[in-house]
Amino acid sequence: MDIVRTFFNWPVLVDSLPLLLTGLWVTIQLGVASIVAGLILGLVVALLRMYGPKPVAVIAKIYIDIFRSIPILVLLILVYYALPFVGIRLSSFWAAWTALTLVSGAYTAEIFRAGIEAIPKGQFEASQALGLSSRHMMVDVVLPQAIRIVIPPLTNNCINVIKDTALASVVAMPDLLKQATQAQALAANPTPLIGAALIYIILLWPLVALVARLETRFKRGVR
């Protein structure tokens, strides 16, 4: 019974739930904002890397490599604690958003590049032979086909971004994990932490299942 009272204490959980839910809301806001910005950034970087003039393409490649190499926690601490020394002072939310977006953008760029490169050369040639401009070739022919290929890995990336939002608790952002540790301290009981873990799982399990389903569906070659 001690284990139940310690880790699954119902009254403690009920008491801490409002706090956990405000934390969840912050987590979702940060996750969605970072995912959307990372998608846009990633698409732009992928296109610059593949079709930009040489120097721009090189810069895009360096960007991708750097931000895939740096641990997000290190980047976050740099943004939050180091940037103020050069006068850039971001709130914990926007510091976390910046770090997550920069990293997600790098991964997303590689996903988009793989998706575009998977489109057969004949699709590009047919578009060009028809006189479509580069913009129309991408928007009407290449990207709609690439999107289907990149949806499973992009969803995977979304899961990672949402998970990585928990790192923001390190810079005192009141996200789900931060609220849970606070509630744990207040109640002197670890149940809120268990609650937070369960909420993360409930939030992300459907996405994980979705990726698995999409992957089998696309493997069957639905075009």
Partner: protein
């Protein structure tokens, strides 16, 4: 009269391999030219240079007097010159009708209704109007290639380039595609057809060109090339393809 398509001293090399070796060719407006020759002889490379799907050099290609080179002229050339590919290259995410409508709506700024009507007329012309709302993947190879021809015609090109249009087809579907091409010949559109269909070349071409090793080794009327070839290599090639 000035030729509609003109190649002057055109060469093209991949690394060390010379795919086109100083090719001269003039094609009059409305003329149907068939290019034959062994694989690797540069036939496809030649037609792909005409709309700059392949970069070439040295040499000069003009279409309707416009030099074919990268830059703002290129859009003008590509708008005039349609191409039909061996592998169809239809857009798999669009319906048959949308495949035909896309380019005119984007480059000629046709409105939806006009593009739709024109697409349906063209699909009727190639005999697949009833498949308009299907996706390319649901069609046979022969039907797909006919859609590809309709898609090209939707841009109202002055010239059509065919790059082995029947080579990827099952034998029983070759005829339906050749029939559509036969219907286009001598309607005013200039045609350059890279093909292995000797019967089609003999019957439809105004002029047959034989390529080997990146050069044009023989050119003439179908009767001249098929019945009285002057080059030993032409004779060998024809013997090889006509013997089976």
């Amino acid at each position: 009269m000035a030729p509609y398509i003109s190649l002057k001293g055109v060469s093209k090399s991949y690394d060390k391999f010379l795919a086109l070796d100083n090719v001269d060719l003039e094609v009059a407006a409305g003329e149907v030219v068939c290019i034959i020759g062994p694989s690797g002889s540069g036939k496809s490379t030649l037609v792909r240079c005409v709309n700059l799907l392949e970069q070439y050099g040295p040499g000069e290609i003009t279409v309707g007097g416009i030099p074919v080179c990268a830059g703002k002229n290129l859009a003008a050339v590509r708008a005039e010159v349609g191409m039909v590919f061996q592998s169809f290259n239809l857009f798999p995410h669009l319906t048959v009708k949308r495949n035909v409508m896309l380019a005119p709506m984007r480059t000629r700024k046709l409105d939806e209704a006009t593009a739709d009507a024109r697409a349906m007329a063209l699909l009727k012309r190639v005999g697949i109007a009833e498949q308009a709302d299907k996706y390319p993947g649901q069609l046979s190879g022969g039907q797909q290639q006919r859609v590809a021809i309709a898609r090209t015609l939707a841009m109202e090109p002055k010239a059509l380039l065919f790059d082995e249009p029947t080579s990827a087809l099952d034998p029983e579907m070759v005829g339906e595609v050749l029939d559509v091409m036969r219907g286009l010949a001598h309607t005013g559109v200039t045609m350059i057809v890279v093909t292995h269909e000797m019967g089609f070349a003999r019957q439809v071409a105004d002029r047959v060109i034989v390529m080997d090793g990146g050069r044009i080794i023989e050119a003439g009327t179908p009767a001249e090339v098929f019945d009285r070839p002057s080059q030993q290599r032409t004779q060998d090639f024809l013997k090889a393809v006509l013997s089976h």
